[in-house]
Amino acid sequence: MGQTLYQKIRAAHEVRRFEDGSSLVYIDRIMLHERTGSIALSNMIDEGRGIMTPEMVFSTIDHIVDTRPGRPDGTRMPGGQVFLDEMRRTTGQLGLRLFGTDDPRQGIVHVIAPEQGIALPGITMVCPDSHTCTLGGLGALAWGIGSTDCEHALAARTLRIAGHRQMRIRLEGRRPGWLTAKDIIIHLICRFGAGFGAGHVIEFAGPVVEAMEVEERLTLCNMGVEFAAFTALVAPDRKTLDYVQGRAFAPRAEDVPEAEAQWLALTSDADAAFDRDIVVDVSEIAPTVSWGTSPEHATPVDGLLPGGPGLEAAYRYAGLEPGTPILGQPIDGAFIGSCTNSRLSDLRCAAALLRGRKVPDGVRAVCAPGSTAVKLAAEAEGLDAVFREAGFEWHEAGCAFCFYAGGETFPPGARVVSSTNRNFEGRQGPGVRTHIASPETVAWSAVNGRISDVREVLS
C-alpha cells in the first residue's frame, strides 16, 4: 500500500519507533516568541540544559509587543515588559537568533517563517504556539507544542509523537472568485464541528487546493488547530517551490535542484489509505462568518442563525438570537491582521474593497500587517494610504489585537469583524464580540458599518 504525504515526511524524520506506535522524530527547525519561548528558554538556563543545535532556532517578538504606529519598544500589557526583556536576555545568553523590534525580519512567527524561508516543504517544525500548523500550507510537517515539549525539542532536537489518524479533505467544484480560503475553512469547521479533527493529521487536497495560491493554503492550514487536528498540510507543488526559492533561510541556489527533486516527491500515493476521506464541493459555500464563541459557531453570511441545545451561553455572550439574520448587524470594530490573514495578498484584497470608500464614524478599524516586511511592501505599493484614507489605523506588525493580554482591545460589548482565527469569549477583550471572517468580509463590513456580504461588490 502507498504512503500519504504525512507518512512520508514522518518516516524521513523517524529517529526511533516505539512499540506503541509513537516515534521519536527529528525536528528540523524551531521558532520561538516572547510569550511562551521566554519561559522555555529561562527554564533551560535554570536547569543548566544546552541547546543541541542553536542555528536551527529562530526567535521573534510578536505577541504582546505594542503595535501602535511608530511603536515605542515595549508592550501595552500591564506587567508584560518582563517577557520582552527575558526574551532578549535568554536568546542573548544562549546565542540564539532574535528578530527583535528593530529588525526588518520581525513579525508574527507564522508569517515570517514562510517569508524568510525558515519554513520549507518536507521539514519538521515546531513552535510553542498552536497556530504553527499554518506552515503545513508549504508542505512542512509543523505543529504547536507546549513549553515543556519546546524545551525537549531545544535540548534533544527531537520530539516523541503519537501515531496519528489521517484525514484527507478534497476540495472540489467551481470556486467563485469571491470565495476565500478563510470562508472555506470556517465553513468546514462549522459543518463538521470543532472537535472533528481530533487525533488526525488533515491533508487538504483536490483541484481547488491545487489551484490556490500558497498564501491561501497557509490560511487554510492555519485553522487546522481550530478543527482540533494535530496539524494540517498541503502537498508542495511547483507553486510552493517558486514561493520558497531565494528566501533568506531557504536552500542555496546550487542546492535547489536536489531539494526540489525531494520536495516534488512529497505527495500522497494514489493507493494511500486515509482513515477518513472527505470530498467537499466548494460551489455550495457562501461567504462565512462566525456568530458565537467557538469557530464552529458560524453561518453563511446570508443565513439565519441556528438554533439547538447548548448554545444559550454563546448567544448570551454574542447578544444575538437564533433564527435572526447576521447580515446587517451593526458593528463597532473591524480588524485585519493575525497569522491567519495578514500577508501582503490579504492586504491587497482588503485594500481593493477599501479604495475610495470610508469607514463610518463610530466604527474603529485597525490593520496590523503580519510582519515588518509585509508592512514595508504594502507601503511601497501605497496600500497604507488606501487603508488610512478609508479610516483604518495602520499599525506595526504583531499579534496583540488578536488576543487580549490587557493591552490593545476594543471596548466591552463591541461587535468586531475580525480576520483572526478565534472568537472565544473574551479573546479580543472582555465582552468583545468577535466575528471571524475573511479580510474581504472585514473590509466590506467595515465600510458599510454592518456585517455585509462581499458578493454585493465582488460578484
Binding site: F83, G146, R157, R160
Partner: protein, 207 residues
C-alpha cells in the same frame, strides 16, 4: 516531577464542551516568566464577577463544597485553543491532579502529562453519570483516579485507556527530556545520515 499512582479528591463537574485554554487562564493573567503562582488566574473570566476579584457564586469552584476540587471534569475537545502550558500550570498550582473529559485537544493533553496531571478520556454517558453522582454530595462523593489500575472509581469503577508512555511518565514522574537524551547516540547517528540525504538543509542560507 512527583510520581502519580492514584489520587482521590473532590471533582469539579464543569462538563463544558470546547473548554479553551483562554478560559482556563486568560492571557492577561500570564504575568510572570514562570510556571508557578498562576492559581489566582485560573478560570479568571468566569470565576470572578465584573472583572474584579470578587468570586462569582454562579461558578462552581466558588462554592464551599467544590473549593478543594482536584479532579476537573469537562466535555469534548477539552483544552482546545492556545498552546499555553500556563493552563496546565494554573490547574496544577490550584491543586488539580486529573482531568476527566470526553476528548482532549492534543497540545493540552501532552501538557497535562508533562506536568503530572492525568488526562482521562471517558465516554460522555460515563462522565454524565459520575457528574450526577458527585453533585449530590461533592465533598463526600470523591472521585478516585487510579492510574496504575487504569480506572476511575466513582459510583463504580470505570476503566480508561491511556498511552503506555504517558502512563509510565506520570507514574514514575520521569523527565521526558532525560529519557530522550538516553538516545543521544541514535540522534547523532540520524543527524550524520541526514546530512548526507538532505545536505541542502544543513547548507541552507543563514540570513
Amino acid at each position: 516531577m512527583k510520581g502519580f499512582t492514584a489520587h482521590t479528591g473532590v471533582a469539579l463537574p464543569l462538563m463544558t464542551d470546547n473548554m479553551n485554554t483562554d478560559v482556563i487562564i486568560p492571557s492577561r493573567e500570564m504575568k510572570r516568566v514562570s510556571k508557578v503562582g498562576l492559581a489566582d488566574g485560573l478560570f479568571a473570566n468566569i470565576r470572578y464577577a465584573d472583572g474584579k476579584r470578587q468570586p462569582d457564586p454562579a461558578f462552581l469552584l466558588n462554592r464551599a463544597e467544590y473549593a478543594d476540587a482536584s479532579v476537573l471534569m469537562l466535555g469534548r475537545n477539552a483544552g482546545c485553543g492556545s498552546s499555553r502550558e500556563h493552563a496546565v500550570w494554573a490547574l496544577a498550582d490550584y491543586g488539580f491532579r486529573a482531568v476527566l473529559a470526553e476528548s482532549f485537544a492534543t497540545i493540552f493533553h501532552d501538557n497535562c502529562v508533562a506536568n503530572g496531571i492525568v488526562p482521562v478520556a471517558l465516554p460522555r454517558a460515563t462522565l454524565d453519570r459520575i457528574a450526577d453522582w458527585v453533585m449530590d454530595n461533592p465533598s463526600e462523593r470523591q472521585v478516585t483516579v487510579d492510574l496504575s489500575a487504569g480506572h476511575v472509581e466513582a459510583d463504580g469503577a470505570h476503566v480508561f485507556e491511556i498511552a503506555p508512555l504517558a502512563q509510565r511518565m506520570l507514574i514514575e514522574g520521569l523527565s521526558p527530556i532525560d529519557l530522550t537524551l538516553e538516545d543521544r547516540p541514535l540522534i547523532d547517528a540520524f543527524t550524520e545520515a541526514d546530512r548526507a540525504r538532505r545536505g541542502w538543509l544543513y547548507r541552507a542560507g543563514q540570513g
